[in-house]
Symmetry: C2
Subunit: 491 residues, 2 copies
């Protein structure tokens, strides 16, 4: 590869002769790893013209670098970075000078920290990945996804690929969601009531921006999805973290000064509890009584392989009080970053304006590819295939959990892709998770799901969406051995 | 297409017999457009099992709908939506009931309105599109883009496609930007100093969140990119809108209580002025003196076909005081939604945490496709090809502008893709733009670029990145006729 002449600049106030400056510039480029072995330098004529200096100066600098083994020459074809030049392991340019800006004073709010844990990027390298929410290569219909993506790259879809939609979305995708996806949840919505988002998390973020500030109060389930809690905390509003029971969020525990209620009725996150129909109505009644808005995160409704899911809370909403959040991240893959928000038109109008201000719109190609994958029926076929495999894994994991005397704290009645587990009191599952990693077992510690005031250390989540059936039992055997060392030895 | 049984629900408190409810549900589905002519209904056995009711009830409902011409039957194959059923023009479910939520009271901030204008999505249907920032199909290397996208869809890249990167980015793309893109701007940065964003607009938004609130003051160029002004206005900070001159932002006009300076030194947006080197140094000195952060939006630096661009302000920044924003939207296409932010590590760490909270990460496939397109050299080849064509169009548009006595208010010395124009005092270019649309000429009114207090109605922008050379003169002839009717008649 030839090194572009555009990457060479003379620093206006540099010390030393021009020749020395050029030598230093090239040597520094090689030492920092920016210029790599075998790459070709610009010709002396070209570099001289680019820098506006005499060609002889460049030639002399090159000759000197040749003598010092930074460069080699290959006859008339020019100068190359030498194999003998010192090579750093990877590109890491040296810091020019220390920052004089006090960034902690310059920034108005801190967003790092919070409860969202870091997760291993290399989970595929582990033998027993009881992780949650990543795509299983063996379940994803990669071939048809490629075909749909390719079709969306075609000449006919050039506008859908390249256009700036500003605050709009792919009309094909919106139409499909309105006509086919939402009716399955009992929801009817017009296109003006639907907004495509960068994943469900982005949808929840938009909602928190629009409905919360320091004058408002939010009710969160406890435990809950930690990133949602981070999002709400950043709004500096009052927060009630309400302990859930086996039926999910208890409506009577919601205080009357609450403005926004966040809930996951289909599969409570992370306990997987399903809210029964009578409680759904009580929740709607309670929200009406105190004039609060309900935000329903309906993630994983597609994973209902044990029975038809209940209709969404939104489908029972006669007041337009429920804002509904859907996602394709679980059923397709999380790297897709695509979800949607359904709500009353005045609300969606503001969410659309905010989204346009923050990022304009989710990339056109991603939207069109999903529209094809849905409308050609591949999505439904994939859901059916996944449901079958997840059902099988669910049977295997339940049996293994019983066999090894592990305690289930929560399990989805319609399906889902994880179990919510409890270890003995006093066990710190974060330490257990760390220990199990060395044995190639990945489990998810439960503490980050709990609000600080009720944080419990002895819960954990077992995901079964990315682990093959035949690895489940041996993985849990290792876990049981760590959790109950005496019992395992006795048995 | 068969209609999924999952889309049928009985409403718990519905009036009337079960049979009537089913009839109503189907009729409503047809009337609203959700169920389309020729679509097949679930069998009576399946629907009855799904709803948990007797099969005869479903059969009676179907028979009634058949008699009323909503459905037809095709022998033993089942029931279909009839061709004679009333068909609405498009899917628009009826509103169930009026919203009882007072959304204007429920929402804490309003994001709609603002200065960002709506632009025509159908610009390709116009003969003379002097628009800005949309992709020209004839200039984009669609074939190689497809190849790169396809490669990024391959088995080897499955993790890059599907993985949840959480707060991280595609390491290939970051590495390429660090090694090849930034050095062309004289910038050296380590991966920890680079964040990939959902377009440059998203990068600017992140910066505004981190650095501004009601205790801070921002300096904006005037005129400026309207969406940036909207973003800054939403932060509720103090704002100075500083009139630019032919060299861009004048440093001496920046008041000493300014915290953040937003500037576009390469091509001032929209006047296209290039800030000369001495002023860049003055600007850095001024920022150091008042301890302000500079945000450099280096959009369009690739469009420097008239001469090598000046190194970025960031390359002269010894203090770590400059936050740099780059974009691929102009050089590739805006529907891509990909840009990047370069700054000091403590700043980028917070920007990364905020981005993760808002949307996690830009989709993996988009990042990997760009990484391939860049590293295989297609990007550089495309830039060279675009530069050649834009240079040609620039010559044509300058000649046509002179020929028709149109007034240029600003023109980029290194290139760019637009001219900043001035009509006579008293001319409202918004009205002119509206009038020209009917003649298939699209121009962009200039008023939204100006802050409200100095808003001028007689400026406009002529983009030449999406109009073929041979359409430029005839398009400007029509415009000149509208702007100078007497002169045109005289000539």
């Amino acid at each position: 590869m030839a090194i572009s002449v555009d990457t060479f600049f003379l620093t206006p106030d540099a010390q030393g002769t021009l020749q020395a400056q050029i030598q230093e510039m090239i040597a520094e480029g090689i030492l920092s790893g920016r210029l790599r072995v075998g790459e070709k330098l610009p010709s002396s004529r070209k570099l001289a013209a680019h820098l506006g200096i005499s060609r002889i100066t460049v030639t002399l600098a090159y000759t000197e670098l040749l003598a010092n083994d930074y460069l080699t020459s290959r006859g008339r074809s020019g100068y190359y970075v030498s194999e003998n030049a010192p090579v750093p392991p990877s590109y890491s340019p040296s810091q020019k000078s220390a920052d004089t800006v006090d960034w902690s004073a310059a920034m108005v709010q801190c967003f790092s920290g919070g409860d969202t844990p870091r997760k291993p990027q290399d989970w595929r390298d582990y033998r027993y990945p009881f992780i949650y929410g990543q795509a299983d290569a063996s379940l994803f219909d990669h071939a048809n996804w490629r075909l749909c993506a390719l079709r969306a790259l075609g000449q006919k879809d050039f506008a859908a690929l390249t256009n700036d939609y500003f605050d709009q979305d792919d009309p094909l995708l919106v139409e499909y969601i309105a006509r086919h996806t939402l009716p399955r949840r009992g929801i009817s919505a017009r296109p003006e009531e639907i907004l495509i988002t960068l994943g469900a998390q982005n949808a929840l973020w938009l909602v928190a921006q629009l409905l919360l500030d320091k004058t408002r109060k939010a009710a969160l389930e406890d435990p809950t999805y930690y990133t949602l809690r981070d999002q709400v905390v950043h709004r500096r509003c009052a927060i009630d973290c309400i302990p859930v029971d086996h039926d999910g969020l208890p409506p009577e525990a919601i205080s009357s000064d609450t403005d926004v209620i966040f809930t996951t009725p289909s599969h409570q996150s992370p306990t997987t509890a399903t809210m029964p129909m009578p409680r759904r109505k009580q929740l709607l009644d309670r929200a009406r009584e105190i004039d609060a808005v309900i935000v329903e995160d309906d993630y994983e409704f597609e994973m209902s392989f044990l029975g038809a899911p209940s209709p969404a809370l939104k489908s029972l909403d006669a007041d337009g009080r429920v804002v509904y959040v859907g996602s394709f991240s679980k059923s397709l893959f999380p790297g897709l970053r695509l979800g949607y928000l359904v709500g009353s038109e005045p609300f969606i109008r503001q969410a659309r304006a905010l989204r346009a201000n923050v990022l304009r719109h989710p990339p056109g190609h991603v939207q069109r590819t999903v529209a094809y994958f849905l409308s050609l029926g591949h999505y439904d076929a994939q859901i059916r295939r996944m449901a079958k495999v997840l059902h099988d894994r669910r049977c295997v994991i339940e049996e293994a959990v019983n066999h090894h005397n592990l305690s289930v704290a929560g399990v989805g009645v319609y399906g889902g892709s994880s179990l919510w587990m409890r270890a003995n009191d006093g066990v710190d599952t974060a330490a257990v998770a760390q220990y199990m990693k060395a044995k190639s077992v990945l489990i998810e510690p439960g503490a980050p799901f709990f609000a600080a005031e009720h944080r419990k250390q002895n819960y954990y989540r077992l995901g079964y969406s990315s682990i093959p059936s035949n690895r489940i039992e041996p993985g849990l055997a290792l876990l049981a051995e760590a959790l109950h060392p005496n019992r395992a030895k006795a048995g």
